[in-house]
């Protein structure tokens, strides 16, 4: 991503589609289109302005083709890169590059999923892997559970510390009107919940919801004349270290180390400069790994770091202020929602959960089984 210029593109519109449990027979494309219409309204552009389509869903093999048909945009520049939940952070980097290269001027990044309505199995067919499938891993949870087992073994991380991540996410969700799960949650509740793949209980695992949305990206120049203050793309980075967990080079060191370093370098920023974090919390171990790998604490110290209320509302570090994949919304590929929340925080639109004077935000996407890591650093005009 080193060829990209800091701040040359901006996010100008964001919106969720319907979330949670959507109307019967809604399609993933319906949800993308709904998100696009709302995100265009958010920035004052119209469908006629859109000339770039970046999208991914597990429910349409050729999603960009389907979206071009749905929106009747035959000439749009398209990119349906799919690397799991971090696809949308990758799309932002690709959109920035496409805009810089003159391939498109107004890009939409869109997602839709009806996995709660149609069932997880139907929404995301499992591929047979002759080297893993015979052992019946409950994927993705089993893969993350094995990473957690290594983190506990190497660093003494405890199940209680993992649970603290879920408790913090729930407290943030209680401040977000759009969140799916708002019932009070304690560490004891997490530990006592149904075991899924030891050491992870169902409360260490993300929600299973429907949902979608869209993000509008355009050039910094064009962004200046739109409805709301631009949120500039300051840095991007990605790293794909493996696809299946048995090929992960090191179960306690993720590709976020590299994706984060690339994004920080492009942005000219470091962890200490970031005001708001949106970290892909498909499982509680994720938040711990990414806080370490993105430089917010030392490797191995993520467990103690998240304990004691540091990442709850009012704590010293604002992490997953929407309630995250653990309590707000998780339709299967959550990465788009990281960008939506980071943008809203930088615009000051977050009401009760607003982080005061937020000027920089880091959205970190995770795809597969800790496989595809992609980081996007965003900032207000003050951060340019």
């Amino acid at each position: 991503m080193s060829g990209l210029t800091r701040g040359c593109a901006a996010i100008v519109g964001v919106a969720e589609s319907d979330l949670g449990a959507v109307a019967a027979l809604m399609s993933p494309l319906d949800l993308m289109a709904q998100g696009i219409a709302r995100a265009l309204d958010d920035c004052g552009l119209t469908l006629k302005d859109v000339d770039g389509l970046f999208c991914a869903t597990t429910q349409a093999r050729t999603s960009a083709m389907s979206l071009a048909e749905y929106l009747r945009l035959p000439d749009a520049y398209t990119d349906s890169t799919i690397v799991g939940g971090s696809s949308f952070e990758v799309h932002v980097a690709h959109a920035q590059a496409a805009i810089a290269a003159g391939l498109c001027t107004v890009a939409v990044v869109a997602y839709g999923s009806t996995q709660r309505t149609v069932g997880r199995r139907a929404a995301s067919a499992r591929e047979y892997n002759p080297y893993e499938t015979p052992f019946k891993p409950f994927l993705p949870a089993t893969a993350y559970a094995m990473a957690a087992s290594r983190h506990m073994h190497e660093f003494g991380t405890t199940r209680e510390q993992l649970a603290e991540v879920a408790v913090a996410a729930r407290q943030w969700a209680q401040l977000n009107p759009a969140a799916w799960e708002k019932k009070p949650l304690t560490v004891a509740d997490v530990l006592g919940a149904r075991m899924v793949s030891y050491p992870l209980t169902v409360r260490d695992c993300c929600l299973v919801t429907d949902g979608g949305g869209a993000v509008i990206v355009t050039s910094a120049e064009r962004a200046k004349s739109l409805k709301k203050a631009p949120v500039y793309v300051l840095g991007c980075g990605q790293s794909i270290t493996h696809a299946s967990i048995s090929s992960m080079p090191d179960l306690t060191h993720t590709g976020a180390i590299r994706s984060g370093a690339e994004a920080y370098k492009m942005a000219g920023l470091a962890a200490k400069d970031i005001d708001v974090l949106a970290l892909y919390d498909a499982f509680t171990i994720n938040t711990i790994l990414f806080l370490e790998d993105l430089g917010f604490c030392a490797k191995g110290e993520g467990g103690p770091f998240v304990a004691g209320g540091r990442i709850v509302p009012g704590g010293s570090l604002a992490v997953n202020t929407n309630g995250g994949g653990l309590s707000y919304c998780h339709p299967g590929m959550y990465g788009l929602f990281l960008l939506i929340e980071a943008t809203r925080q930088l615009r000051g639109e977050c009401g009760e959960r607003q982080v005061k004077d937020a000027k920089t935000a880091l959205a970190h996407g995770n795809g597969g089984v800790l496989s595809a890591q992609a980081t996007v650093i965003l900032g207000t005009e003050a951060a340019l």
Partner: protein, 128 residues
């Protein structure tokens, strides 16, 4: 170009059918390669030798899957002594008693109907 007569997976399964844990070794990279491939991912070379493991390894990571129906079972990542890692299951022991660092020994889970054979492990004690 000669057409490849036997796929890497077929060779791997052939070893398992003989009770062996087969793996590839890349002479150019001087390292074991797993899962089996058509080219070496380190060098790009098509020259990969098939070798048979002595069958000893160490548990690298472990979990116990709790299915909605049926008994909990182990899933583990095992570091085989010849220098490669694979997913497997440690048997003949309570799933929660499988620990990281435990020495384990390979055996074949035989083919059942349409399902091909696959490698499992049992506790090896102090055996080398």
């Amino acid at each position: 170009m000669t057409r490849l007569a036997v796929s890497p997976l077929t060779t791997y399964l052939g070893h398992l059918e003989k009770g062996e844990l087969g793996y590839q070794f890349s002479p150019a990279a001087n390292q074991a390669i797993f899962y089996p491939r058509v080219i070496c991912p380190v060098t790009g070379s098509e020259n990969l030798e098939w070798r048979v493991s002595a069958g000893f390894g160490t548990v690298h990571a472990t979990t116990v899957v709790h299915p909605q129906q049926g008994a909990p079972f182990n899933v583990a990542l095992v570091d085989v002594d010849e220098g490669f890692r694979l997913m497997s299951r440690v048997e003949d022991i309570e799933p929660m008693d499988v620990k990281i660092g435990m020495r384990v020994k390979f055996r074949v889970h035989p083919a059942e109907g349409e399902e091909p054979p696959y490698p499992v492990f049992t506790p090896a004690g102090d055996a080398k």
